[in-house]
Amino acid sequence: MLMTPEVWEVVWLSLKVTTTAILLGSLIGIPLGACLGLYSFPGKRLVIVLIYTCMGLPPVLVGVIVYLLLSRYGPLGSLGLLFTPEAMMLAQVVLVTPILAGLSLSAVQAKERAYWETAKSLGASPLQLVFTIVKEARKGIWAGVAAAYGRAISEVGAVMLVGGNIEHHTRVMTTAIILETRMGNFTAGLQMGLVLLLISFLFNSFLVIGVLNQLKTGRR
């Protein structure tokens, strides 16, 4: 397999779907995790347990749920999103948001209470306080983003179900690999897998660098 325009199209769509899902998931998951790490409220433990449970959600289950939501007779059927890149993004948002929230929560909790107290005593509003602690815990949060990216881009079950693997429309790297393998084009499947592995490697490298920086800062 060479890097033909068709292959580039598949790679580009994979990156677009996953990057958008990560950005949207970050907008929800990071503030949610930070607030859970900073504030106490009734039922907080239950919410944390639910988030940790959802971190291991089976992608196929997410795919089925999003499929039912978006199907013609589902609650969001009127939007006509099923078998579109937007549906794939939605499924990936559902998958990565708990990961981003859970790892942001851990990163914020790892910061001593002294940081929270210092920011509060300096006059931070509740929102400014969350931003300050998120900024302070940025290395751990960045590790969470990299982990979520790796999981989303290599995921196949959910995007297959809600995207449908339609050529020039919803075909991404993972669904293309399955297709090539089913057709007996093992070489093409393996080559696509290597591209996927390279992208995953790059993001997990950021993960390792983030974690190492975090440890280095903690030792100072």
Binding site: A114, E117, T118, K120, S121, L122
Partner: protein
């Protein structure tokens, strides 16, 4: 009006009262020393007044504005919080430059960039650490970090300055600078300063009035001179002579 009044303050942990202050009055432009044995409630008092500890009961009258400390939420307490500067025993520096650390309080208040630059420079000069502005805050020595912590609160010109054993871990050189800055701001600014200290010599040379806290109560208070030369209560007499067993 120029008084900070505290009344009916009660702080409890797991149902057990650890601090009870019926009434305390602090006048403007004075430095108050809070002394007492370890675990007597000195830091708890300061933390309750800084809104870092929510008491079971208590009111604070800050120059005419009365607040109920027991029901104050973070958002509701913000206007009062922004009038207070608090320096703990061990300062926490954020992972950025010294300049950014000192500018933080001003940024929270929405101060514009030009004013931030000049105010931060002024505050750093005040604590004699102007040359550290671009340095990473985590690379400061303990003494320098404590002086930066002081600059970080002085920069937004608080009405109330609360210091919790700020020089406990400092060498004489840094202590001298710290005390010089406190004296200078007392003379030049409209500020009330409360300092918790175990260093009785420091309390004697720095403060105008002193409070003695023992077992969660203010046992004695008065002018520093009378406090050290003519203590009335047997507890304070024992404490000053080093006879107190606790």
């Amino acid at each position: 009006m120029n008084k900070l009044k505290l009344s009916d303050l009660e702080v409890a942990y797991r149902g057990k009262t650890v601090l009870r202050v019926d009434k305390a009055v602090f006048e403007h432009r004075k430095i108050y020393g809070i002394v007492g044995p370890s675990g007597s409630g000195k830091s708890t008092l300061l933390r309750a007044m800084t809104l870092l500890e929510q008491p079971a009961a208590g009111r604070m009258d800050v120059f005419g504005t009365v607040v109920d400390l027991s029901s104050l939420t973070h958002a509701k307490g913000l206007p009062l919080q922004r009038r207070i500067g608090y320096v703990p025993q061990k300062p926490t520096m954020f992972d950025s430059t010294v300049f950014d650390n000192v500018a933080l309080g001003l940024r929270y208040r929405g101060t514009d960039r030009t004013a931030i630059r000049s105010l931060v420079t002024e505050a750093l000069e005040l604590v004699e650490l102007g040359h550290t502005a671009k340095q990473r805050a985590h690379t400061l020595s303990g003494g320098e970090a404590q002086r930066i912590a002081l600059a970080r609160v002085l920069v937004y010109q608080p009405d109330l300055l609360f210091l919790d054993e700020p020089t406990a871990n400092l060498d004489p050189y840094h202590i001298a600078i710290f005390e010089r800055v406190l004296k200078a701001i007392q003379q030049t600014r409209d500020i009330t300063i409360l300092i918790v200290t175990h260093n009785l010599q420091q309390a004697r040379r720095l403060t105008d009035e002193c409070l003695f806290i023992h077992k969660g109560r203010i046992v004695e208070n008065g002018s520093t001179e009378a406090f050290f030369t003519r203590p009335k209560s047997p507890e304070l007499q024992d404490f000053l002579c080093g006879r107190m067993i606790y």
